[in-house]
Symmetry: C2
Subunit: 525 residues, 2 copies
């Protein structure tokens, strides 16, 4: 005798089984930019309760939003992408998601299985593309739609990485031969850290005293992780650093002030020069972002590295255990100083914007930071601000800040989201503004408009060209003509305004925070 | 005794040798979006006379422009892309370039060779990405910069495809151990077609009479190729078709009216149903764009296909030889009819825009067509227009039309360029507008603003959902909010206007053609 479930599933298409299995596993959002080979999935979205589709005008908006969503929600969203070129368009932000250890599940429609061999125009090597950012899962059978779907989702959560699930159009359309898997939201507990690793870390940190360093990343930058780290530092004398580009760092609200390991390798080497031990908690051994002649790739002195917990392990628990072991008391650590608020007439610079924002930040805000102009000064200034969460660009593929802010706003609609964004990187995925408008996402976008790829000016100087020739100057300038972000934002349906002083920024920022939906402020620098 | 050349080259960096070798081989434009690992190349651009750098705000603008450039100039431009993520961002238009058989040479900087093993944040599998669109060449030695560079360029020209040349940052910066190769612009003659293939084609076409079909692609769609095809048709009774999405088709000016093979496979099958022979000239066997249940993937009846010339062979010469063999006289073929110009008060539809544009086209214009709304009607209408060149989206990765128009304008600054662009696809690479403004490219951008992914509405209906549910409707709509292209264009520094009738379009189009630099017209439909 057949159960109700079996009777029902016999009428379900592969697309429906895929989406129902995902929804059953706790997936509730799909950032989508579909095409012809995903039409059965698009149709099935309307038959899958609890799965919300969010359209992006470009795939890199979808993948960056899925990354931002995962960082806040701590679970995977789906993306829905069209064939190889759709996946290719989203690869840059999947690269960032991989470096952020964000679970993301890309669903990619492929040609009907019987059509693939004919090398139609849109055919390309999807598996090769998927392999550059994570694992590739393929549904090649009507009987395995649900199981392969669940494997792709669980794999993303277990590895904390990117899964790409390829499903040919015919297998989406045909009736599936396997029911959706039972509902059981994915909640993979992180593997624990061995007691010996904790003991050894305690031993080495105690021995090192002020020459001990504890480097935090991943879940080590949670509120609980940083509190434990603060206690460890108080008990052992160790110095604390955060990885340079955290996927998600809790900040402010009395947390110990933890600097990021400096970006330029000579400064990072200097910061670690006298270390006797560098304990890694949720982070890999620190290496130079780029190789520069005469500067080592490895930033920690030889023989000093001790791995306490990898990013996919239970980093928080390892830190708590370590704090207990070193006999750290649960006492408040010395807080950082809130910077002085700049005068209303002050011009907008990285420093004034950083200090102002640290003072104005609403409680529980999420700040998606991309670009150096305001990013570094804000991070330094905000240690003593109200509690907030910072997301940074983890993989260096620029165009991540606006999509991540969008995804964060979808994950936490009750929290204010601020995108602190440089203009050069913002232009890669400015299309994210439109989805913010459509979804009425409460995002305040602050554009640091200096009309240059300033980081490249610095790099030209480091490479021996402090005064670039005309072509080099032009390749690092965003002037001629200057981008008008106010016009751009309005084109995408986002209200926008201009600010040139701290006072103007204050008015615009306050208005924007109170208004519903997104608002963009061009900070002319 | 050393020659001057040898003395000079001892002071040249790898970057200079690379660029000088490219310039010596006839490369004169580099569409660039560089980063830190390309700084020595950026510096070297100012020391390489005759190599012009053009900045794109997104890599897919650079690669699409290089494709458009190659289609018009018939030689490769360089792109300059930053590491794996930069290449990934440009892959979609490289996919189109691959399908267009356009020679394109991507120069990608990599981490310093001694830094690569440390898996720094921006490290990824560049070779795997490059392999999905063409050949991967790597400079791994100071002594082979020039020879590997030349090989990458020649390979792109010989295969008519995409080469990716990866050069680590240290090998760009260090003095090269090989001088730039001597100047000798690349002019690879296409391999000829064997006499037997031509004779057999002649035999089969003569035997087939009106059941003969000659399908043209690649260089077969040159003026000379189409003229020969017209004579062949006149002599044998064969029907002529163009491939559905030509990279470059000469049109108008008395050329025989040659329809494109229909896009939807059931119509293409019907068009070829009674064929006794389908002769392929510069094109592969025609296959369905997508697989639909019950419709064959192969469009030509079994056993009818005869390959006259592959796209990388001398297609023109094969057609001329075939025309001579079938005894075709050099007489004018019956021309097509120019469509009636719509009344000024007429609303803007695909049909009215197509007919109007066919009448208004300036002589020798290049029309970059992307999107179905106006693309198909214009192509059908323009057979009897003044001589012009049409570029279409060859690979189906959307976001190709605006970059291709930019590249065409750089390749042929003396020719008027028109981008006939649908709104959905235009939004993928709207950043191309800024480079048009910066380079003062004479491009008139016509946006068919219907605020929908209309092709997907059609596909939903074909997949059995003529009335999409709310999520499907939303995923195929570009409304809520409607994109304002006039604002977007102004944001990127491009003057813009609106048109809702044929009369308004006529005024705006005429003004735009006369003005210097780009102009965008939003055609509200």
């Amino acid at each position: 005798m057949k159960t109700d479930r079996h009777i029902a599933h016999e009428e379900l298409t592969g697309a429906q089984v895929l989406l129902e299995t995902a929804a059953g596993r706790g997936v509730s959002v799909c950032f989508a930019n579909p095409g012809t080979t995903e039409m059965p999935l698009v149709t099935a979205l309307d038959r899958t309760p609890g799965l919300r589709a969010v359209l992006g005008l470009h795939e890199n908006v979808c993948t960056g939003a899925a990354d931002g969503y995962a960082r806040i929600a701590r679970r995977a969203a789906l993306t829905l992408l069209h064939l190889g070129p759709g996946l290719a368009n989203g690869l840059a932000n999947l690269h960032n998601a991989r470096r952020a250890h964000s679970p993301v599940v890309n669903v990619v429609g492929d040609h009907a299985s019987w059509h693939l061999a004919f090398d139609a125009p849109l055919t390309s090597d999807i598996a090769a593309l998927a392999g550059t950012v994570g694992a590739h899962h393929e549904i090649d059978d009507r009987a395995s739609v649900a199981s392969v779907t669940r494997r792709a989702i669980d794999d993303a959560h277990e590895r904390l990485g990117v899964s790409t699930l390829v499903v040919p159009a015919d297998l989406q359309q045909l009736t599936a031969q396997e029911p959706p898997l039972e509902e059981s939201p994915c909640a993979a507990p992180r593997p624990g850290v061995g007691g010996e690793d904790v003991e050894q870390a305690a031993h080495r940190l105690r021995a090192a005293g002020s020459r001990g360093v504890l480097l935090l990343g991943g879940a080590g930058l949670s509120r609980r992780g940083q509190s434990a780290a603060g206690r460890i530092a108080a008990a052992t004398g160790a110095r604390l650093y955060s990885e340079t580009f955290p996927a998600r760092a809790e900040r402010g609200g009395g947390l110990p002030p933890i600097d990021r390991l400096p970006y330029f390798p000579e400064r990072a080497v200097a910061a670690l020069r006298d270390a006797a031990v560098v304990v890694l908690a949720g982070v890999s051994e620190p290496v130079a972002y780029f190789g520069y002649e005469g500067i080592p790739s490895r930033l920690a002195p030889q023989g000093t590295v001790h791995r306490l917990a990898d990013v996919a392990q239970d980093v928080e628990q390892a830190l708590v255990a370590l704090a207990e072991l070193v006999g750290a008391e649960d006492r408040p650590t010395a807080g950082a100083q809130q910077p002085v608020e700049p005068a209303p007439g002050a011009a907008l610079t990285g420093q004034t914007v950083g200090a102002a924002l640290a003072n104005w930040l609403p409680e529980n805000a999420i700040v998606s930071v991309e670009g150096g102009t305001c990013g570094y000064p804000f991070y330094s200034a905000s240690a003593a601000a109200v509690p907030h969460t910072v997301l940074t660009n983890t993989g260096g593929a620029i165009g991540q800040g606006l999509p991540a802010a969008l995804g964060a706003a979808i994950a936490a609609p009750e929290r204010p989201v601020i995108a602190l964004q440089s203009d050069g990187s913002g232009l890669y995925t400015a299309q994210a503004l439109w989805t913010m408008a459509r979804e009425s996402a409460d995002v305040v976008v602050l554009i640091a408009a200096n009309h240059a790829y300033n980081v490249l000016r610095t790099e030209l100087a480091r490479h021996g060209s402090p005064e670039p020739g005309p072509q080099a100057a032009r390749l690092t300038s965003l002037g001629e003509p200057a981008i008008d972000w106010v016009s751009l934002a309005r084109g995408f349906g986002v209200p926008a305004s201009d600010a040139t002083t701290v006072g103007e920024l204050c008015v615009a920022f306050t208005d924007a925070l109170w208004a519903r939906g997104p608002h963009l402020i061009q900070m002319t620098m």
